[in-house]
């Protein structure tokens, strides 16, 4: 019970979900880069605002269910792009939007946008990981003082 409460404390579940989303999206982005010159390949992605909206809903619902405590039930809503995975985290169901210029090989690559997404997504992952690490250090410090 104590360990479960520690893992579900404060912003931790939302950060873990954000980290998992960034890792999944990173896979899609680098796959798009690898297939930049594959004929007929259509770029795949998931909506970041869509994820943020779902995360906001989950945080709001958790706040309502917590009733004053810090450990409410955190559950991400399922959308067309976010499906609950076997380990409880959302797994990504990417879309091929078909946007962008279609090249003569019927590939809709967009190098600049891909690199922008790669950098932005990397920063999102880093933010979630750094805050999670800080929380872990806080917990470690608290446990150390008690020992």
């Amino acid at each position: 019970m104590l360990i479960r409460d520690l893992m579900n404390f404060g912003a931790r579940p939302a950060l873990t979900e954000a980290q998992s989303f960034a890792a999944g999206r990173h896979r899609l982005i680098i796959n798009n880069i690898a297939n930049m010159q594959t004929p007929n390949y259509q770029q795949q992605d998931v909506s970041v605002p869509g994820f943020q909206k779902a995360l906001r809903e989950a945080v709001d619902r958790r706040r309502e269910s917590a009733q004053g405590s810090d450990n409410g039930v955190f559950e991400m809503p399922e959308t067309r792009e976010l499906v609950k995975g076997p380990r409880g985290f959302s797994t990504l169901n990417p879309r091929t939007d078909g946007q962008g210029i279609l090249y003569h090989d019927r590939n809709n690559r967009d190098m600049e946008r891909l690199m922008q997404n790669l950098a932005e997504n990397g920063l999102q992952f880093r933010f979630a990981t750094d805050v999670l690490r800080q929380q872990g250090e806080l917990l470690r410090a608290a446990i150390g003082q008690r020992a």
């Binding site: 980290q19 890792a23 990173h26 896979r27 982005i29 680098i30 796959n31 880069i33 690898a34 297939n35 930049m36 010159q37 594959t38 004929p39 390949y41 190098m111 891909l114 690199m115 790669l118 950098a119 990397g122 992952f125 880093r126 990981t129 750094d130 999670l132 690490r133 872990g136 470690r140």
Partner: protein, 139 residues
């Protein structure tokens, strides 16, 4: 998460193969096959997925070289009736058939392949940084 690196690696391997084909095309621009026909330019075709990857993630994503085919465009013709290889009859009599390698096109393709290789290398570097950050969570 280690499977992520395989995706970028497959991209680099595919682009390197393409660059090898381009190099072979440029090097063999004036080559003649054993049967006397000029060298035909090679074209590399990619397909999504990488069966050679060691992880399920790597096999599902990534890219691989599906096939390498000869360029079917006609050979270039050079007017040289004195050459023993010159065509003896037909509308192109007096012309010598030469390889259909287009050096300008090969140059453009080489630049494209190099840039794509670099993009995959940058993606692999970003993946490495993410893995390092995740590992730092362990303390």
């Amino acid at each position: 998460m280690y499977g992520l690196l395989e995706i970028s690696t497959s991209g680099m391997i595919a682009q390197r193969t393409r660059l090898s084909a381009i190099s072979a095309n440029v090097a063999n621009r004036h080559s003649v096959n054993a049967d006397g026909t000029p060298y035909r330019a090679k074209m590399v075709f990619f397909e999504p997925g990488d069966a050679s990857a060691t992880t399920a993630e790597g096999r599902k994503y990534g890219v691989h070289v599906a096939r390498i085919e000869d360029d079917p465009t006609p050979f270039n013709l050079r007017w040289d009736p004195g050459d023993p290889r010159a065509l003896k009859s037909g509308p192109n009599a007096g012309y010598v058939q030469e390889s259909n390698v287009n050096p300008v096109l090969e140059q453009v393709n080489a630049i494209q392949a190099t840039r794509a290789y670099e993009a995959n290398a940058v993606a692999a570097e970003a993946t490495k940084v993410m893995i390092q950050q995740a590992l730092r969570l362990l303390g």
